[in-house]
């Protein structure tokens, strides 16, 4: 029988295997023909998944729930002691299972999806590198290792967004993601530095052990948490650092599914949940998180209603769902955030892969106005997409219902207004998702006849991952089946070793209130579906073409509130103007002059000194003797 403490000794294999895959594929790229690199990559990820699964089962039998595994002492210079340690506890196991499990499905999907790409091998090398970094991120036992993984996934995200780098627009998207993340990372780095100066350690356990010395809203803790929050905002695409995520859809669709829906973008949520004890001491920061989450959830949902690119709709819905997770974090119910993160990983990965399957079937078409009537032709895709849509909209008994409901209940317990706003966002989610579903799968096909003749259901490599994810999207909710239905809230209890919720999960709410709220939300959802059905199927309304001028609000929404333009006007243009007009002068007159004169002076000195070196040996002897005398004098007389 494998015991937890025994199997944990091999935990280092989990991030190392995909990294080895990256190295193998990169170095033997020329030898790997056909699907072989995809198979290698998937095999290694599945090994990681298997080890994670073994650890999970071993852990549930074990009394010890959390083990720190020391790999080697990494940095040991003076006061700076940073061991390379992995932390295996419920939270990291939860994340490892998502990353390696969903990652495996997406890897398999990609074998079919990317097969005809000329950079097939490179793609899988990057995907494996990403998985390794993400696993390192969630397994690190201190903030520095977390940061290492954080930067690793950022790099892979950049590489994969710009994977089709021959398209300039895609390169711009990659650059935007990179810059936005850099802003977040700067905050994160500063947070880490401040953490180190405050606690003299970067280990999670070391930091948390010292927290009893601080009072709530202690200014240092607040600053640290705010800095960490900036990092999380960048990675998890929250206001104001969210605009990169919709652009990131330029990458291949499996990348959007893995990186920009299921895993990397949740790193910010993981960071805050991991630091739950730290954030509990900073209610001020929690309130800010709540506000940001709420605004982002609503803001992104409204934009989603008017998008016509299938992947853009999903991208904004991701931003919006991440907003819900932030709401949960802000309410202090970290376990609900992780619960929603888990279910979201299932149904959002499924939605993206489904979108990928559709795009694949339509030979690259992404505009929903040119789709329609695909229900018959892509039955598996349709069915799985439907399940995912029901899940994300929050219909019982699909997974999204339970996770979203948990967040909304906690919101109601805090303040009914937050609940109302949250519900409003959920209804909008329901609307744009059904809009998408109806426009894509119902009525008549609106593309070219040529496209129509090519439509075909995707091969098994693509459809099997869809089916598995669909099953998970249905049953995922039972992971944390709420007590009100006679469940045990298993996941929340499981996670309680790693997380300390600030508020208890709506514990002080009357059962009847909870039932009424659920009934209300389901009723509203049904009404919204009926509304969308009437609008898009009965009346066959279509989103207007790009050339038709829109009314004010639709125009505002379909142009994403002009946030990109605003940032451009506020930051990019002044910066460009400054660098074109002011900086050249400053650079020439102040910086260049200082640096140059330093250089020139040194050169001049070098020239002078070189004269000494004339080759005259009696001068050499003279210099040596002078040196001896000089040293004797300063030592004997001073």
């Amino acid at each position: 029988m494998v015991t937890f403490s025994n199997i944990v000794k091999y935990a280092w294999l989990v991030p190392l295997l995909p990294f080895a895959g990256f190295l193998i594929i990169i170095f033997f790229s020329r030898l790997l023909k056909g699907k072989s690199s995809g198979i290698i990559a998937s095999a290694l990820i599945s090994l990681s998944f298997l080890i994670s699964l073994l650890m999970f089962f071993a852990q549930s039998d074990s009394a010890v729930k959390s083990i720190t595994l020391n790999i080697f002492s990494w940095l040991d210079v003076g006061a700076l002691k940073i061991p390379f340690e992995l932390l295996i506890d419920p939270l990291s196991l939860n994340m490892m299972l998502i990353v390696s499990g969903v990652g495996l499905l997406i890897h398999v999907f990609s074998i079919g999806y990317m097969l005809h790409d000329e950079r097939f091998n490179t793609f899988f090398a990057y995907m494996n590198l990403f998985s390794a970094s993400m696993l390192l991120l969630v397994m690190g036992a201190n903030y520095l290792i977390l940061f290492m993984g954080w930067e690793g996934v950022g790099l892979c995200s950049y590489l994969l967004i710009g994977f089709w780098f021959k398209n300039d627009l895609y390169n711009l998207a990659a650059r935007k993601a990179f810059v936005m993340n850099r802003i977040g990372d700067l905050g994160f780095i500063l947070g880490i530095i401040l953490l180190f100066f405050t606690f003299r350690t970067l280990n999670f356990s070391g930091v948390f052990a010292q927290l009893s010395a601080f009072t709530p809203n202690n200014s240092t803790i607040v600053i640290i948490t705010l800095l960490l929050l900036v990092g999380a905002l960048g990675k998890s695409a929250q206001i104001p650092l969210f605009t990169w995520l919709p652009d990131a859809m330029a990458g291949p669709t499996p990348v959007s599914a893995l990186i920009h829906a299921a895993t990397m973008v949740t790193a910010g949520i993981y960071l805050i949940a991991r630091s739950s004890l730290l954030f509990n001491l900073a209610p001020f920061t929690l309130d800010i998180i709540l506000a940001i989450g709420l605004i982002t959830a609503l803001f992104a949902a409204t934009i989603g209603i008017y998008q016509n690119d299938i992947k853009k709709v999903l991208a904004y819905s991701t931003v919006s769902q991440l907003g819900y997770m932030f709401i949960a974090l802000g309410l202090g119910v970290y376990s609900s955030a992780i619960f929603h993160l888990t279910t979201h990983a299932f149904f959002k990965a499924l939605l993206f892969l489904g979108a990928g399957s559709i795009i694949h079937a339509l030979s690259g078409e992404q505009d929903i106005r040119k789709m329609g009537g695909l229900k018959k032709k892509l039955p598996i895709t349709f069915l799985t997409f439907l399940i995912a849509t029901l899940a994300i909209s929050g219909f019982p008994p699909f997974s999204g219902f339970f996770s979203k409901d948990e967040i909304l209940m906690a919101a109601f317990a805090r303040n009914p207004l937050i609940y109302v706003l949250g519900l409003f966002g959920a209804l909008m989610t329901c609307f744009y998702m059904f809009r998408l579903l109806f426009l894509v799968f119902y009525n008549q096909f609106r593309g070219t006849p040529e496209q129509e003749s090519h439509i075909h259901e995707s091969p098994a490599l693509i459809s099997v991952p869809l089916i598995i994810l669909a099953i998970l999207s249905v049953v995922g909710g039972f992971l944390n089946f709420p007590e009100i239905f006679g469940g045990k809230a298993a996941q929340a209890n499981f996670l309680s070793v790693s997380l300390t919720n600030y508020a208890s999960n709506a514990g002080h709410m009357a059962v009847s209130t909870e039932w009424i709220l659920m009934a209300v939300s389901v009723l509203f959802l049904l009404f919204i579906v009926a509304f969308a059905y009437n609008r898009f199927i009965k009346q066959k309304m279509l989103p207007a073409g790009d050339e038709i001028p829109l009314a004010f609000i639709p125009k505002l929404l379909s142009n994403k509130y002009y946030v990109d333009e605003l940032y451009n006007w506020l930051i990019v243009m002044p910066y460009t103007a400054l660098s074109e007009k002011v900086f050249p002068k400053m650079e020439l007159n102040i910086i260049d002059k200082t640096v140059n004169s330093f250089g020139e002076y040194t050169m001049w000195l070098g020239e002078k000194v070189r004269r000494i070196q004339a080759g005259n040996i009696s001068f050499y002897v003279f210099a040596m003797v002078t040196g001896v005398i000089f040293f004797i004098i300063i030592n004997l007389y001073f």
Binding site: V77, G78, G599, T602, M603, L605, G606, E607, V609, R610, I612, Q613, G615, I617, F619, Y620, V621, A623, M624, T626, G627, V628, F631, I632, I634, N635, L636
Partner: protein
């Protein structure tokens, strides 16, 4: 004394043995078959280097005159590696017509200096030390004058022997004063009885002068420019790396043991000389166009950096010095190796401007040189970065903030000139860059060893940890 006690002198005995073998080979081969001596010497040296790493007993011989400790054995091994690389790098140069008849001369002279260095490092009293020092210096003068028909080469030999005679004289004078005041030449006795009387301080400074000449510390460095330029490239690289490393090793040992009583005083002396040496070395190097001279001057500046570790005086500092020399051997010999290869293949092109656009024609050599220069400049992640980092840590640990500031400033200045050749190779466009050529096997092996060293020593923290564990005790 038992016979197996001689095993303690394993390094010296083995080197003597291979010197004799080469001598015999020289006597029994015909004039036109001397080329066979090259592989023979290299293989013998490789064997000695590998055997040196086998576990060995430690202890003292001749009543304490000769001492073998783990740390000293490590130092000897490092020097062996350096000498081996120089051997390998010299192989193609020795093949030329001019050197046909003096192949074994080169190896014999080099091995004798290495024997001298080994004795010097293992010395337990001033006499053994002096003997080793002279054995390590005089043959080098002959090596510097190896191209005996070249005026520059013979000038280099003459200058070296003259200046070394002067410094030896001063050093001997210092030793005689030590004996005069203490009544013993054994290190352990001297270290106990040494005080800070004026005569003893003077004796230390005289002694210091002798070492400063070997390490080429300002103002005792002036000989280096002419000698480094005049001597053949391979001799220069040996002189600037192995010979300097040996002097640094014994000097650092003696400072913390023999002269520990006056540490406060020598630390001041070192402080000043280290700062001046770094700065002046940089100023010299900056204006050089000839890459050989350029590296020679940069090695003066490197000597200044190495002294940072000695000033630290801590175990960390000593480990940092030994580690840095190891890194320095690979980096500097890598750079010299590329320059020698290009000089041999292109008929003596050694100027910076000759390297314009080299990356296009000879990418492998360009990358090797770049790596070596990065390592010398201390750019991560190459080994040189860690070397400098540990040296700086050692100084910071002892609170020499001003010295550290000067060192960091000098690192920045050095960055400028170390990147000049890189810029020439990668960015500058040239009408006619040096054409592509194939290096011969020996050159390739030498460069591969250097590159591997720079990368492995940098990434394997085990090596530094191991050096740290070797107690610095004598």
């Amino acid at each position: 004394m038992r016979l197996e006690d001689f095993l303690l002198m394993r390094h010296e005995l083995l080197l003597t043995l291979i010197a004799i073998i080469i001598l015999i080979a020289e006597i029994f081969t015909d004039d036109f078959k001397k080329q066979g001596i090259r592989p023979l010497s290299i293989i013998l040296m490789a064997i000695v280097t590998i055997v040196g790493f086998l576990p060995a007993p430690t202890g003292t011989l001749f009543g304490g005159m000769y001492q073998a400790t783990d740390m000293r054995l490590m130092m000897k091994n490092i020097l062996n590696i350096g000498a081996l690389i120089v051997f390998i790098q010299s192989a193609s140069w020795l093949k030329s017509d001019d050197n046909q008849n003096k192949v074994s001369e080169f190896f014999l002279l080099l091995i004798s200096t290495l024997i001298g260095m080994n004795f010097m490092i293992s010395s337990g009293d001033f006499l053994m030390f002096y003997l080793g020092l002279e054995l390590a210096t005089i043959p080098i003068a002959a090596l510097a004058a190896y191209d005996r028909y070249s005026n520059k080469s013979s000038e280099a030999g003459i200058k070296l022997i003259l200046i070394s005679a002067l410094s030896s004289g001063i050093l001997l004078y210092g030793i005689s004063m030590i004996y005069g005041t203490v009544g013993s030449v054994y290190f352990d006795k001297v270290s106990v009885a040494y005080g800070a009387t004026p005569l003893q301080i003077m004796s230390f400074i005289f002694f210091f002068t002798g070492m400063a000449f070997k390490i080429s510390i300002v103002p005792f460095h002036l000989w280096t420019a002419d000698v480094y330029e005049g001597a053949p490239v391979n001799v220069t690289s040996y002189l600037s790396v192995v010979s300097k490393g040996a002097a640094v090793f014994i000097f650092s040992i003696m400072l913390v043991t023999v002269f520990q009583n006056i540490a406060a005083m020598w630390k001041d002396v070192m402080w000043i000389t280290a700062a001046i040496t770094m700065t002046l070395g940089n100023l010299f190097a900056m204006r050089q166009n000839n890459l050989k001279r350029f590296l020679a001057f940069s090695s003066i500046s490197q000597a200044g950096f190495i002294m940072l570790g000695i000033i630290g005086g801590s175990e960390l500092g000593m480990a940092a010095v030994v580690y840095y020399i190891l890194v320095y051997i690979f980096s500097n010999l890598g750079a010299f190796g590329v320059i020698a290869a290009i000089s041999n293949a292109s008929g003596g092109k050694e100027n910076m401007s000759d390297y314009d656009g080299l990356y296009k024609t000879n990418p492998a050599l360009s990358l090797t040189l770049t790596l070596a220069l990065f390592s010398l400049a201390g750019i991560p992640p190459v080994a040189g970065f860690f070397g400098k980092f540990f040296l700086f840590t050692a100084v910071a640990e002892k609170g020499y903030w001003w010295l550290l500031t000067i060192a960091v400033l000098n690192t920045i200045i050095s960055l400028y000139y170390y990147l000049l050749p890189v810029k020439a190779m990668f960015i500058n466009k040239a009408e006619t860059s040096i054409a592509y050529f194939k290096s011969d096997g020996w050159t390739k092996v030498g460069l591969i060893i250097c590159v591997a060293g720079m990368v492995i020593v940098g990434f394997a923290s085990v090596i530094f940890e191991y050096i740290r564990t070797l107690s610095f005790g004598l």
